[in-house]
C-alpha cells in the first residue's frame, strides 16, 4: 500500500521511474516533463533521507 503523498495524482501523466506511481511533477527537479521523474517517497529512500517503509501487511 502506498502512503498518500500530495505529489501523487491519479490523473497525472508523469510516472515515477522507480515505482510507477503517477505524479504531477518530479520530486527532485520539480519539472512536470522530467524524463527521470521520481516520486517523493522513492527520492527520499534513494538519497537516504528516510528508511524504506516496512511491508504494510507486517510479517
Amino acid at each position: 500500500m502506498n502512503r498518500f503523498l500530495m505529489s501523487h495524482d491519479v490523473s497525472a501523466a508523469l510516472h515515477c521511474s522507480r515505482c510507477g506511481t503517477r505524479i504531477t511533477e518530479c520530486a527532485f527537479c520539480d519539472e512536470s516533463d522530467c524524463r527521470e521523474a521520481i516520486c517523493y517517497g522513492c527520492l527520499n529512500v534513494a538519497l537516504g533521507q528516510e528508511m524504506q517503509q516496512p511491508h504494510a501487511h507486517g510479517g
Binding site: 518530479c26 520530486a27 527532485f28 527537479c29 520539480d30 519539472e31 522530467c34 527521470e36 527520492l43 534513494a46 538519497l47 537516504g48 533521507q49 528516510e50
Partner: protein, 161 residues
C-alpha cells in the same frame, strides 16, 4: 541514540550521555558532527555554498537580479526572517520582467535536501535531471546553502591522497 542505549553507555562509565529524542537523521540534518566509517565521506551540507545570495518575497526582481549578478551568481534563494526557504530563482526566473515582485517570479517551495546526503548521490541526481543547483536545508527548512552541480560532481570524483 535510543534511551536504552544511553542508559547502557552510562552503565559502562560514560558520564555525559544524552538521549537525542528527534533521532540521528535529525541530528545529521542540522549539520552536526558525526563519527564512524562514513563520517569522512563528503556530504551535501559540507559542499553547499554558504555564501549564496538571499532575498525576500517583497523585493523587486530587477534590483535583486542586479545585486546577484554583480556578485557573480546566477541564482538566489528566497527566505523569510527566520532564514526558512520559501522559493528559488535560477537563471531562467532571474531573466523575467524586472518589475515583478520576487514572490511573483520565484519557484515557490522548491525541493530541498538535507545536509547529510552523500555528495555522490546528489551529483548523480543533479546530472541526471540537468539541474544547475539545489538548496540544502535543515529539517525545519532553514537554509544551509546552495549546492551547485559543478561542485557536487567535482567533490564526488576520487581525490588524490
Amino acid at each position: 541514540m535510543s534511551p536504552r542505549a544511553a542508559w547502557r553507555l552510562e552503565s559502562l562509565g560514560f558520564g555525559d550521555v544524552y538521549d537525542y529524542v528527534a533521532g540521528k537523521l535529525d541530528w545529521m540534518a542540522a549539520g552536526l558532527p558525526t563519527e564512524g566509517t562514513n563520517a569522512e565521506r563528503p556530504r551535501a551540507g559540507g559542499v553547499a555554498r554558504k555564501d549564496v545570495p538571499i532575498c525576500g518575497v517583497k523585493e523587486r526582481l530587477g534590483a535583486v537580479r542586479d545585486r546577484v549578478r554583480e556578485l557573480g551568481w546566477d541564482a538566489v534563494v528566497v527566505v523569510n526572517d527566520e532564514r526558512v526557504v520559501l522559493g528559488l530563482l535560477r537563471s531562467k526566473e532571474l531573466d523575467a520582467d524586472p518589475d515583478l515582485l520576487i514572490e511573483q517570479a520565484m519557484r515557490p517551495g522548491p525541493s530541498t535536501f538535507r545536509p547529510f546526503v552523500f555528495i555522490e548521490e546528489m551529483a548523480r541526481f543533479l546530472v541526471e535531471h540537468r539541474l544547475e543547483s539545489s538548496p540544502v536545508t535543515t529539517s525545519d527548512g532553514r537554509l544551509v546553502g546552495l549546492l551547485l552541480q559543478e561542485d557536487a560532481v567535482h567533490e564526488s570524483l576520487p581525490h588524490e591522497p
